[in-house]
């Protein structure tokens, strides 16, 4: 019914090894792109952009970054908040030091700076593994936040240690600062999200991604078959931090517009992103997006239903949000420990056979 695969023959190696080998998947992908790039911008309001879509894209990039490290390379990290902070502060310093620099370069450079920092903090991963590595990256989280809060140069000696993003334009359209239109800000984030997802997808299908997965599945065996653990682990840290840095940069410059390191990039952020990855599905690009969607959209949806729809008191609704979201996380993890991406995978396999299950 949905998947009509008969007659869909591949005549070249290229068509055989494409990202979406099944025609239906491919069309679905084009459809999502069409909706994301054309349909959603037509309906964007200030609220739906700033409270729903932009945070969703920003957190999806962060989840994608962490998924490379945790899901593909098997290195548990709790330093996400710290690395996002590096990206945000790098953006701030670049934006204020070089006012003429265009935003794409600023964001990409911030990502690269974060990649360097992330690689540095990835060095211990060569010696320590599992939970011990989690503790080492936790140290990165606390150290980076402390550093960015302690040294006034990072926040240009402002009285309160807050950083705020000045207005910047691209092609004459304002994309950061208060006068940015929701469509411009959304599309700017979307281009990064799609571009980075495309890059990650291709990286994970290539030699680098395969070496990450070899390390994840059994590092000693991987070493024996010739995977260099130094290169594999450090490249995973670098690429992961690059994405997380970009997400932090977008969070600060496009989404929030101002940030305070202890609040916006606290340890809670690290946990939230880890939850996104686990709920969405380890080692899945699609999972990163669904995980971020779940963690970002669910509270907003619940708030609107409970307070806006049912007229509950705000504090009661806020507490119920915690209960419902927490309960849903538990239910999802019990029903499908491999995350929402695995649910989608199972559904797809069922649909491919449907309506004849044998």
């Amino acid at each position: 019914m949905f998947y009509r695969e008969s007659g869909d023959f591949k005549k070249t190696y290229q068509t055989d090894s494409q990202t979406f080998p099944i025609k239906f998947d491919r069309w679905r992908y084009y459809f999502v792109m069409l909706v994301a790039f054309i349909v959603i911008p037509m309906f964007l309001t200030d609220y739906s952009a700033n409270a729903v879509m932009i945070p969703f894209l920003v957190w999806a990039i962060a989840a994608l970054g962490l998924n490379i490290l945790v899901g593909y390379c098997g290195q548990l990290s709790l330093g996400t908040g710290g690395f996002m902070a590096v990206g945000a502060y790098a953006t701030y310093k670049l934006m204020t030091s070089f006012p003429g620099m265009d935003m794409v370069s600023v964001i990409l450079l911030s990502g690269l700076i974060t990649a360097v920092v992330g690689t540095l903090f990835g060095l211990p991963s060569l010696r320590i593994k599992g939970f011990y590595l989690a503790v080492a990256t936790l140290a990165a989280q606390f150290f980076l936040v402390w550093l960015l809060n302690k040294v006034p140069w990072f926040y240009n000696y402002s009285a309160s240690g807050q950083i705020s993003a000045p207005q910047r334009e691209m092609f004459g359209v304002i994309i950061t600062g208060p006068y940015a239109t929701p469509v411009a800000a959304y599309l700017f984030c979307l281009v990064f999200a799609v571009g980075l997802a495309w890059m990650t997808r291709n990286l994970t299908r290539g030699r680098m991604g395969r070496s990450w997965m070899a390390i994840r599945d059994m590092d000693i065996a991987a070493e024996i078959i010739g995977v260099n653990p130094l290169a594999a682990k450090l490249s995973a840290f670098a690429v992961s931090s690059f994405l997380i840095g970009i997400s932090g940069a977008l969070l600060f410059s496009v989404y929030l517009g101002a940030a305070e390191v202890t609040e916006a990039f606290s340890i809670n952020v690290s946990f939230a992103v880890l939850f996104m990855v686990i709920i969405g599905g380890l080692g899945s690009i699609f999972g990163s997006f669904v995980g971020a969607g779940f963690m970002v959209l669910m509270p907003v949806l619940l708030k609107n239903v409970l307070v806006g729809g049912l007229g509950w008191p705000t504090d009661l609704a806020a507490h119920f949000e915690f209960i419902i979201v927490g309960g849903l996380i538990l239910i999802f993890l019990i029903l499908e420990p491999h995350g929402l991406a695995q649910m989608a995978r199972v559904l797809k396999e069922k649909l491919r056979l449907w309506p004849f299950p044998h």
């Binding site: 999502v32 309001t45 700033n50 807050q162 705020s164 600062g177 208060p178 305070e260 606290s266 504090d315």
Partner: protein, 427 residues
Amino acid sequence: MKFNKLATVALVTLAVSVPVAAELVFPSLSYRTGPYAAGGTPVADGYADYFTLLNQRDGGIQGILTSVPECETGYNTAKGVECYEATKGDGALVYQPLSTGITYQLIPKATADDIPILTTGYGRTSVANGAIFSHVFNFPANYWTGASRIINHLLAENGGSLKGKVITLLHHNSGYGKEPIATLNVLAEKHGFELIISPVDHPGQEQKSQWLQIRRDRPDYVLMWGWGVMNQVALKEAANIRFPMENFIGIWWSGTDNDVLEGMGSHGYKAATFHAVGNDFPVYDDIEKYVVKRGLAAGDGSNVGSVLYNRGLYAAMLAAESARTAQTLHKTANITSGMMRDGMEALVIDEAVMARVGMPGFGPSFSVSCENHGGPGMAAIQQWDGEARQWKLIDGFEAPDMDVIAPLIKADSEAYAAENNITPRDC
């Protein structure tokens, strides 16, 4: 990914379907949950109750009913932005986010949307420069005037000189807590005292090392910029090391009923304040009659009369009086947020106004102008009486050392203007 899109569509329809009525809307970005709920709840209650009182007693402000849609921020900046976006479309007149972090987020956004922000006693201090911050107000007092007021109090205690004294600043390690450092540094240089900075990380439960340091440094005075649980922990630690309480002075956010300890532990502790304490005001009779008796009190009604409830009441009164000024100024009862801004800029609070609203002597007299959005920064010093279990004003409303603060405000606001390409208005 498709499911997300569906959820978005559902959200968008929810967000759009909010009714618009001819009311004066004062959104309350409150926090009744999270680590700072103990402080956020009474302020939100006072804020809501004052507008309920106006509706019940006077039928609103000059005949237009008020409404206070509440949105829970949990003291979280991202949620604060969500709340702002969710409520601004309903004709919001003024925002009072009660969080320095959220204020920083909203300053550029609200300015772009032509909605004023009022931060009484918090937020970014340099917004007092109205030429650069056209839509942000922080009358009647801010952190820098508060810091200076406390130092003035200490100067008076020490016969006009603090030379050779050692003062420790124990502060919440956030934008809020860092605000007074610059001012205190300048004051330290001017008056010749030594300033030791001692940051406490969010949420402030862990202060052992800071107090160990205080024990070692033996400062003459400890100043505190704390919020929430940090205040109670600090007072407990101070009592533990037998630090003389009368030498321990907090800013107004560290001087509430929640903070002081049971028993005599914090007897003698001082705090700055920019409004009176207690419930001995005519407005409280009206609140009892029109709000509490009718079962309309916000929250569970248990906070009526507490220090932070008074602060919420005072903030609401300032907003309501600004709206009234705006109505007179623009000769229309149905004002917009832009008119509200003009009203705030033309606000005059004198004894006659305070008597009319039933709060004689509750706060200082002041007026706002185009170039000065901060008022005179008058503040008083209150002291906790552990026997009577109440705060007492021991040093009345006095002006701070503006010679020190004015250049700091100018420098900080001009740095902001340069970073964000803002041309100062002509005032």
